[in-house]
Each structure stands twice: as structure tokens, then as C-alpha cells.
Amino acid sequence: MTATLAVNRITLTGFRNYAQLRLDTGAGSVVLTGPNGAGKTNLLEAVSLLAPGRGLRGAPFDELVRQGDAGWAVAAELEAATGPVKLGTAYSLSDGTGEAAGRQVTVDGLAQKGSGSLGHHTRILWLTPAMDRLFAGPASDRRRFLDRLVLAFDPDHSTRVLGFEKAMRERNRLLAEPHADASWLSGLEVELAARGVAVAAARLAAIDTLRGYAGKPTESGGKPSHFPWVMLTCEGEVESLILAMPAVQAEDQYRKMLHDSRRADAGAGRTLIGPHRSDLSVTHGPKDMPARLCSTGEQKALLIGIVLAHARAVKAGFGGLAPILLLDEVAAHLDAGRRHGLYGELEGLGGQVWMTGTDRSLFEGAGPGATIYDVNHGAIAVHGS
């Protein structure tokens, strides 16, 4: 038995529709079935909070509090890269005594500063129905998707993005003033350029890695997949600069561009050039067609293909440990052939997978290691027990 990354036990308190729940899953995969509104996705969301960030819905933490409760908590025992580890995260609403509301994160009982340190123990990737419009929707969604991909390779990426956004907010605010100090602006632009180039370079590096797993099969040498191969690029001014010249030079160039666009930026009330405007472009490989023009079913297949390729790439870069995958309502949209193809690829990946669906019959062939649970109104039982 090879080492795996898996949630062995998870305990939820006051979380969404769960007053109290303990689930001993073991290292095997988990299939959650039940009617709409039973709380299947809520459980996946709880698992997703064991990774850095705001979880798979990206919801504000106070919305996760069960009605009538003062806060929520998610505790889990995992088999992680570093051995068994206990992760905990909790949030309490402001109780009116002046103690601010906030999220706490613990690793083996020790309080952590922020959720970033979770990234050193887990890799959790997800696919949700909300991502179905990724290719046709706004570029900001694709950028966020891309940044999550990068984050799984490189836990420090979020710090870089936050630093860039902070410098940008400072500059935007300064530009809004009638006589903005030119020296101050230059100082911020130096910072903005350094951090912006770092953000763009990390994205390009991640896409480059991903190409080896999601790109044309003959190039990657992998097995033919049930999901179409893709062409991935990150489009943006700063990305183009990095591809054309050394990073230090790109930094200078971007700084000059910022300097020259002060007037335009002040007029627009925002920064017009930078990696915060970049877009992830995805092309259906075999059809040579932009993803947004593909059929709904094809778009879903493309997305699954990217997530699976990403999982394989993360596995290769994370000591051979496959990431935990959370697939919300994925099976329902696939024809039988692709569904079994998906289960086959998941088994090949060898990691723990959490899947949800309303119909139990969809999960036939989901693998011998998977346990099927019935979810009903915040209660969970092993199917057939």
C-alpha cells in the first residue's frame, strides 16, 4: 500500500445544516448520495476548508454558521504528507463583548497564523457545478481558478497575489488624489512591478507544468484519456513581457508602463495594466476550438480533464501523494462511457475522492475502495446499514 493523503475522520460542529457530525471515513473514497438540500455539498465544503482560503463556495465565514449557533468548527484527522496530522479550523461570530469575530486554524493543536500553513499539510482540489460557466463567464473567475491551480503547486502564491493587490490598492487610492506625490507613486510602482511579475511568472510556470499532463497526449506521452486534451495559455501584458525577456527586465518594463499610464489609470479609477487583468485561455485540443464555444457537455469534460491533469501534476510534485479531490455533482453530467472513464482515471490517480450525487446508481463502478453514504437532513449513514 502506497502512502496516501486522506481525511480519516472529520467532525463538524454548528456548520451549515450540521449541528454535530462525526464521520470516520478511513482512507478510502467517499460517495455522498441523498436528495437536494440534504447537506452533501456542505460536507465537501467543510473538507475544502482544510485547505488555505475560503473553501469551495468562497462564502463569507459567518454564512457557514448553523442557524442559532455562535460559530462553526471543522476538525479532521488526516494522513498527510508529513504523517498523521490533526487539523482544525473554527470561526466564532462576534459575541458583542468587543472580541472580534475571526477564524482560527490549528495544526496538531497549535494555533496558526492564517490558513496558509494548512497548505503545507494538504492538497485539496475541487470541481463544483458553479464552475460550469467558467469558460463562458467573466475572466475574473478563470483568473481565480488559475490562481487556485498555482496555489496547489506553490503555497506561497496567495501571499504574492495579496501583496500585489495591496500595492495596487495603495496606488489607486493615491491616483485619486488631486496632486498625487510623484515620488510616492514611483515607490509603489516599483513594488507593484516586482510583485506583479512574480505573480505572472508563477502562473506561467504552473501552466507550463500543467501542459505536460493536460496537453496533447503524444507530447506528454501519457495514456489516452476519456477527456479531451487542452491547449492552455495565460494571456496578459505582463505575461507577454516575461515570455519575451528576463524577469528583471520585464519588471523594469512593467514599471515604465505603469508610470506612463498614470493619467489613464487616474481617469479610469483603477490600474489598467497588470496580471490582475490576465485571462486563462483554454482550447479544446482535438477540435481546435476555444472552450467557450464548445457544447455544455464538452465544457464539463474539458474542466474535468484539467482538474484530473492538475491532480496528476500535483501528485508528481508533492512526493507522489495524490491530492484529495472533491467532485460535486460531477457524475450526473457525464454519459456512461465518460463516467466509467472518470472512475478509471480516479482509481489510477489513487487518492481519496469525495463525490456527491442525487442518484446512487450513478456510482456503480466508482471503485472497490469507495464507501457510499446516505445523507439526509444533516445526518449521515453508510448505505445499506
Partner: protein, 202 residues
């Protein structure tokens, strides 16, 4: 609401202690209990010391540091090299550098960093006084900018550098890079590329 376990005076002491950095309600209670138990050895001297500090504490009109005399002990120390000024964000940073004993120079405390969002501009910091300390006729030959490697800190560093560029002095800043005892493999790309950019001959 929990029941009260001590009189209002001790409750007040606990509440005040809990507002100190690094102390939460629990450790404040423990500190208060320790003080009360050691009334003569600790509580009395502490109270006297607090009172005395409150009466005498001053901000140095030259460097912005904190002392009980103005100009401060550092500014009036003639064994220090007055041709070098080290610029820091806060008094805590000055103390950290002094603990390290890394240099024998004068300091200048900015009192924060530039932040457009928080409405902190150059005139809200001790920047004008730094400029006048470096003006014509001053003995200053070098200004070392020792601010934090944060967005605001570095933007402030660039700003000061720009304001001092016409003066006849060297502006330097702390090196960014490999920490003492650090291993390259564990460094993030930003730190590594900064270290590479700022490499120097052996």
C-alpha cells in the same frame, strides 16, 4: 454572563493588562494574580515605575525616538558616528538594531509607513524632519533605510530615496536575501531572486 470573582479594582487591572500586546484575558489574569501575590516586591515598584515613566516619557525632537530626555540618549551620545543615520519605522525596530549591535550610528524613527488607504502621507510621518537633518551643513554622509520588506515599507523606502537624491550623501538599504543559516532549497522565489540581484563579490 459569568459571575464576578474579585472586586472591581482587580477586575480593572486584569482588563488593562489584557490590552497589552502579547497578553490575552487568560494571561492577563495570571499576571494580575502574580502582581497581587507579590504586592511589595513587584506590584509597588511596578506602580511607581509606571507613574514615573508616565511623567517623564518624551519623544525626541531630533530623531523621533522615545526617552526621558530630549534630545534622547542616542542623539547626544558623542561616541556615535554622526555621519550615518539609520531610518526605521518604529522605536521597536531601533531597539532591535541596537540589541544586535550592528551599527554605531544615529537613528531616525518614521513612526509608521506611507499608506494612501489609511490616509498616512509624507507629512504625517517624520519625513520632513529627516530631510532637514540631512540638509546643507549637516555632517550626514550616509542614510541607511532599514524598513520592513512589506509593500508599504518598501514604497516608503523608495519615496525617501527619491527625496534625498539631490543631497550630497549615499542612500543605502538593508540587503534582502538568504538569511544567516538559511538553505536555498527552502527559500521562496521572491527572496531568491532578490538575493541573486543583490549578489556581491567575495
Amino acid at each position: 454572563m459569568s459571575r464576578r470573582i474579585t472586586g472591581p479594582e482587580i477586575e480593572r487591572l486584569i482588563q488593562l493588562l489584557a490590552r497589552l500586546p502579547g497578553l490575552g484575558p487568560r494571561s492577563a489574569r495570571r499576571a494580575a494574580l502574580h502582581l497581587v501575590k507579590n504586592r511589595e516586591k513587584l506590584l509597588g515598584p511596578l506602580a511607581a515605575s509606571l507613574k514615573e515613566t508616565e511623567e517623564k516619557v518624551l519623544v525626541c525632537s531630533s530623531c523621533g525616538g522615545i526617552d526621558t530626555v530630549d534630545p534622547c540618549t542616542i542623539c547626544t551620545d558623542d561616541r556615535r558616528d554622526a555621519s550615518i543615520i539609520c531610518v526605521v519605522e518604529e522605536v521597536g525596530d531601533l531597539w532591535a538594531l541596537e540589541r544586535a549591535g550592528a551599527l554605531n550610528a544615529l537613528y531616525h524613527v518614521l513612526g509608521g509607513t506611507l499608506s494612501a488607504i489609511e490616509g498616512v502621507g509624507p507629512d504625517d510621518l517624520n519625513i520632513p524632519s529627516l530631510i532637514s537633518r540631512c540638509g546643507p551643513g549637516s555632517p550626514v554622509k550616509e542614510v541607511i533605510i532599514a524598513v520592513n520588506a512589506t509593500v508599504e515599507g518598501q514604497a516608503t523606502a523608495h519615496y525617501i530615496t527619491d527625496r534625498l537624491k539631490d543631497f550630497d550623501l549615499t542612500v543605502s538599504r538593508l540587503a534582502h536575501g538568504v538569511p544567516v543559516g538559511g538553505e536555498l532549497d527552502y527559500l521562496d522565489e521572491g527572496t531568491l531572486s532578490a538575493a541573486m540581484r543583490q549578489r556581491r563579490p567575495f
